[in-house]
Symmetry: C2
Subunit: 423 residues, 2 copies
């Protein structure tokens, strides 16, 4: 068929969310015969896998936040709008921004995930989370604030409470954060606060029977040993039943006095408010066809953590490569639809899985081979620096890592000027 | 006389404020025969002269905020306490932290300056200022937010209001900020927001009859021409009578519609609350003897912007080198007092004065020679990178400048995660 002439009224594609999926979809639609509008509440793309390094004062916040407009500079058909989406109306094909209605012909919902507290009391009010740059900075500031307070306190019990850091959830985020926090307390914190040398205590509370359940048991055990070498107290089969400003309560009635509970125990889909009901799967995820279109709507796609996609009978696990590949696929399918062709099924190509622990240790499952040690640790760092957007960020992250790991120190110990303490 | 034996109860010196004066005093007291306690509300030292570069997205916030504890690591007799000082009691020799009383034998008041609004209505509520890292980030976020809003607005008047930036005060801060803001709008902002190419408007409102009144008139005129070449609209003899969310009002009844008023028109001393009255001079500054001791108290010193010091019949002008030299001098005098000797008069050695404008232009008065052009511009940059604390910060600031000036671009366009919008 003939290409649409330039004088034709062009279709408008709206993408909600500039995370891995949405940001990739926008880039993959550069030059398409449609006007693309990417909407996000922030004007930057957050590189979520490195947020734990911001929270532990390893990386500058700006290195994990890439300005969306900079990436879109050369793309004439892609625009960006910083706004909060209030509601989506599939029938009238409108995205409601509160003070503005944006019409679309095609829609990509890529709004990601939110923290899931499983109804545990106190989590929403008192626990720290690691979903956004803001949250990572809040955690960093809070840890530093705890150290500053603990350094001048005479009451040993209160000092121990301030220097106890409880992390809930033994998946990748919890493991990464526990390792990095332990390294921080042993290294830079100890150098800056000689009076706190022996007080730092990191606890990792895991409800399941092993760490990193998405990896083979052997690697979970390796992770467990590695974390204990770093000084982390790992508790398996330990459910959290409540948390407060003063402590975290466990299912065996024990209460651990702590000023810091980090909730890394799970996420749930975070779709925009929908004017019409849509078929949802586990954890509120939108139900998809295999083409990534919503079950009910030919012109609406969903990708990333907000979408439910099964492959070989298993749902995707919610990692960045899945969202990135879906972003590419959705762009390809949209181009097909614009050209009058029908969309094609998506298939995720799993290149493997890596997790970093700390102390130069990591674990990996790549091409069917499972391994723990310094090799997956190094691979994790390299993969993440390669996928980080922007040459400047890549270079500076690399330099920062070299400095951190060679010197065992942290360059970023100051508090942010914005101390929005949670407690 | 014999040196005090180690078994003697050591004197305690408390320094309030980790700005240029206080931070320097603490460092210069390393190894003294007294315990030194440095108190600041932040755990970092802010390099104030570069804040305008943070506000205009040229520098990472962390590069101008140096963690106090890191600098004090090797000093056994110097400790740091992050706290807000509520009150100082000279008679009982106590610093009151609200929940804690800190006794001192010697005190150094180095609490700096606060913005002075001269009673102009609306300034406190609506104007942006540049005294702290937090304020610099607020201004940066606000400018970016104005651009994001202006890019999607259809009302031309509102768009013009959002893209008009009024800076009040033609001293060094106002000039530096006006130049940097104009460069930013012409460069990186224009690249990211093609729809805003011709809308950016920077106004510099100066009450006096020339810019940079602390320099000879000829250099003020040079600065005026240089700023106009950068696109800044300079208004001399223009007093601001009020400002609001909507506009800034001038003494000739004119109102300029703007969403951004930056108040750089002056500062006042910011002493802690004093339990006893103390002799104060112009702008609330504490009256000193020529040894930097308070007029009333042998054991209390004041330095920097909180102190009034005259030399050759003129008060010091409130720049960083003055505070730094006073910090060194106060440490020397304290060591003399500890040894039973009497303090010596302070004398400021003026090495000259530089101001940066932008567009590779600056002005300087060094050793009696007045000059404008690229040489003082370059000297300004070099001097500030040399005085910046920390090798890492120096290196990264240098690299960032090379990148910014060579590429005419800004690497730091994203909003902070903490958007505490003032309006």
């Amino acid at each position: 068929m003939a290409p649409p002439s330039p004088s034709t009224q062009r279709d408008r594609i709206v993408i909600i969310g500039a995370g891995f999926g949405g940001f990739q979809a926008a880039q993959s639609l550069a030059g398409a015969t449609a006007d693309v509008l990417l909407i996000d509440r922030n004007n930057y793309h957050t590189f979520v896998p490195l947020l734990y390094q911001v929270a532990t004062a390893q990386l500058e916040p700006s290195l994990v936040a890439y300005p969306v407009r900079t990436k879109l500079r050369g793309m004439r058909n892609v625009r960006f709008l910083q706004a909060e989406v209030k509601r989506v109306d599939f029938h009238h094909k409108l995205v409601d921004l509160g003070d503005n209605l944006i019409p679309y012909d095609y829609l990509v919902v890529a709004t990601g995930a939110a923290v899931h507290d499983y109804g545990v009391p106190g989590v929403a009010a008192h626990a720290f989370t690691l979903q956004s740059l803001r949250e990572a900075l809040e955690l960093r500031n809070h840890v530093l604030q705890c150290c500053e307070q603990a350094a001048f306190i005479t009451d040993d019990r209160e000092r121990q409470r301030l220097m106890t850091f409880a992390i809930v959830g033994g998946g990748a985020t919890g493991v990464e954060l526990a390792g990095a926090l332990a390294e921080w307390l042993r290294g830079a914190v100890r150098r800056d606060f000689s009076e706190l040398s022996d007080w730092g205590r990191v606890m990792l509370l895991q409800a399941g029977s092993s760490l990193l359940p998405e990896f083979p048991q052997r690697l979970g055990n390796y992770t467990h040993r590695q974390l204990e070498q770093l000084g982390v107290q790992v508790s398996l089969n330990t459910k959290v039943t409540a948390c407060s400003e003063q402590d975290v309560k466990l299912s065996d009635q024990e209460a651990i006095a702590t000023a810091t509970v980090v909730w890394a125990a799970g996420v749930t889909a975070n779709p925009p408010t929908l004017a019409q009901p849509s078929h949802q799967k586990a954890k509120g995820k939108l139900a998809l066809r295999e083409t990534l279109q919503l079950v009910e709507h030919d012109n609406v796609y969903a990708i990333g953590d907000v979408a439910y996609f099964e492959q070989s009978g298993e749902p995707l696990s919610g990692v960045a490569p899945e969202a990135l590949q879906q972003g590419v696929a959705v762009a390809r399918n949209l181009r097909r639809q614009l050209a009058g062709d029908s969309p094609r099924p998506f298939r995720y190509l799993n290149k493997g899985r890596l997790a970093i622990i700390g102390g130069y240790g990591g674990v990996g499952s790549v091409l069917g081979v499972n391994f723990g040690g310094w090799l997956p640790w190094l691979m994790w760092l390299l993969v993440h620096v390669v996928y980080l957007p922007g040459y400047r960020s890549r270079l500076l992250v690399l330099l920062t890592w070299v400095q951190n790991y060679v010197m065992g120190d942290r360059a970023l110990r100051q508090l942010s000027a914005h101390t929005d303490a949670k407690h």
